[in-house]
Amino acid sequence: MWGINMTLRTSKVAALLLLSVHLLHASALPAASSYGFNAYRMQQYNLHQDKHGCRGAIVVAEARSAADTILTRRCVIMKLPDFTTERYLEAKNLNAAAVLILLPQNLSSVPEDIVQGFMVAESQVLQKETLMPVYVVPEDDQLLYMYEEVSQAAATKSASVLVRVLRSIITATAFQILVSNSSPIKPITDTTIITLEGVLPGAGEDPPTIVITAHYDTFGLAPGLAYGADSNGSGVTILLELVRLFHHLYSDPRNQAPYHLLFSLTGGGKYNFLGTKRWLEENMDHAESSLLHDNVAFVICLDSLGTGDELFLHVSRPPKPGTPQYSFIQQLEQIISARFPWVRFGTVHKKINLQETNVAWEHERYGMKHIPGFTLSHIENPKSELRGSILDTMAQVDIRKLKRNAVIVAESLARFMYNLSDKGSAKDMQVFKGSLDIQDSHLSSLMSMMTSVPRAVQLLDREPGQLLLISTLEQEFKHYLKQVHRHTFHLDRRDPEITFFDQMSQPMMMYRVKPAAFDLFLGGCIAGYLGIVYYAIQNFGIIYTKLKATMKAKHQ
């Protein structure tokens, strides 16, 4: 009986000790009291007098969760699943001060529907302009801690009044987000767009030209985070692979086909294919002789071929039988049906609408100059959100499907140029094999090079990493092709087609603050403690005399 009592008591004491130790340990907050990091601002641009993006940069606001009810003049913190069109419009309507989006480090673990929802919201948000600053920042421990705290604060709003009051006074930790800069947002006046071109000359007297082109820039919510793996890193990778294969074929003069191959990497693709437009103007209107002037068989534009089990051929006018495009399309269909029957192939006709300011696909720019062409892509809808998103990273690209698409394009081109089906070759004969085989490792190393830096147009002409990438592409061209030119197009100062604005990346500070009531509460506690100290010191004399008396008694 006594033994049970003792064990109960000791276990209670032990539990209390453990709890107090745990509380004391937990009281060491993992968050720093002030934390600075770099946040990327949503891009801001004017396209043909239409304003897009966010106009504001300064943030002085308290952080709140997206699930909170009061968002006025607060900074809304959203994670990837929270950023939907409805939530964003709600924040805008409630006059929130800013939105901060936390981007996970590992995007391959995010479910597909969340990625889709985010991409849709991203494209819709960028269609209009807003005064509310929107920032994107990659996640780390401190920011995740802040998100947890802020979500918990929103969750307890529904709890009872006593809990809410206690929480708001004692334990709540509020966060203040600060972005301050003294200079206003300025437009960037010296934007340049760079387009590269190179030629593989064909055999014969004045043979027709096949143009193969891809745009190499990217688009996304924040220019500093737009890596664009599928759109259009995959297009550039396939183009570079074609350059290498046909260079090897054409190196032997007996193997040259009766077609010139003109390769082109254009910039400004995400903004109505501005680089293509200027390059065409320069070649056709200003140059005396150009391969584009006469006798172009067709133009193949490669746009987003990194994933998917479908291939769409976008044309502005259905090709008539007997034209080179028609026979090339036949080759495509034959190759796909013979070797990759699970791939769904379709042709999409979309007439060029000269009234509309937005150009849907790159071949439309050629169509406006009466050059026949088509765009090959796994995307069916030109307004698809997959064509411009910051979530378009290597996780969105499947190397095997990229290789399959590269094989389809290369084989169809070879069969068309060398007229192999008329010569009676089997449908599933492989032209490129052995030493000319397309290898996974080569494709993935090209993709890694393309996604090593964000290739947004605002950054391509000024950041060292991006300039190095363009130089690398130029070197690749010079290694394999002849007559390599680098065209640098400056935008017209008085009436530029597109204007970008600076301050794309800002240093942001996060401060841990306590509510005002907490200071008063702490003051009260300190007053109580000081009262105890005062009482103890006053009565110290009594203790001293008592001790003296005990000592005297002991000695006597």
Binding site: H25, S34, V513, V533
Partner: protein, 257 residues
């Protein structure tokens, strides 16, 4: 004139004015609330010193200037210690995470100069033992409070961010007060010519503990990975134990004969 959202100048001026207004508002909030926090910390640190000074009867004996002298001795001793450390203990370029036990132990030994300083102060003052101890301890502890706590509090506690370390710093100053009183008492006892043989050992042990208390605390924090509040609690307990032992010894010594 009306605000034209297309004109660049209008947008920039509006942003400027908007930003200035926001900063003014925030600064007003900052100045009231964080000055309150600074006031909290400062009163927590300073009030026990004030009470001790008043209640120990020092104010009746006009001990203010003697306390100031003790404070000046503190400054001098700290300066000598710093120069000694800088000359004989160059910065250790060892591994980043390795805690140099021997080096820190040697550095803590230099803190013996504190004992010498306290002895110097106490030998200058004539009077009863309790009076000498209190004057020396009050002056010493107040000098430490001003030198090592006031400036961090002023700079840090007034910032917009909240950190528990300022409250901890103020508690630490309270603990330091008790520690210095105990240390002065032990030094006084050690230098008494009529100290009984049986007291020699406990007094020496307490003296050693006083000097190496800082080193012991760092050892505990490093080995047991204590949080900041736990470390403060352990420090308070240690100081309390030292001061209680020294109190017992003092009372026994003074009132046994």
């Amino acid at each position: 004139r009306t605000f034209n959202s297309d004109a660049q100048e209008d947008y920039w001026t509006c942003a400027c004015h908007c930003k200035i207004a926001i900063l003014l508002d925030l600064r007003r909030k900052i100045s009231t609330m964080t000055l309150f926090h600074f006031g909290n910390c400062f009163s927590l640190a300073y009030f026990p010193y004030f009470i001790t000074y008043k209640c120990s009867g020092l104010s009746e004996y006009n001990a203010f200037w003697r306390c100031v002298q003790a404070g000046a001795t503190y400054l001098f001793v700290q300066l000598c210690k710093m120069m000694f450390l800088a000359t004989f203990f160059p910065t250790w370029e060892g591994g980043a995470g390795v805690y140099d036990f021997v080096g820190e132990f040697m550095k803590a030994t230099v803190d013996m100069a504190d004992l010498l300083g306290l002895h110097l102060v106490m030998s200058k003052n004539a009077g009863k033992g309790e009076y000498k101890i209190m004057v020396a301890a009050m002056g010493w502890a107040t000098a430490e409070l001003i030198m090592s706590r006031c400036i961090p509090l002023w700079v840090g506690a007034r910032g917009i961010e909240f950190d528990w370390k300022y409250i901890q710093m103020s508690f630490d100053s309270n603990i330091s007060l008790v520690h210095y009183i105990a240390m002065a008492a032990v030094v006084w006892m050690f230098t008494r010519y009529d100290l009984p043989k049986s007291f020699r050992l406990p007094v020496t042990v307490l003296l050693g503990l006083c000097v190496y208390k800082g080193f012991l605390m760092e050892l505990f924090v490093h080995v047991f990975l204590l949080g900041s509040w736990t470390a403060l609690l352990v420090k308070a307990l240690l100081t309390g134990a030292i001061s209680l032992c020294s109190l017992f010894l003092f009372v026994t010594l003074v009132h046994s004969n």
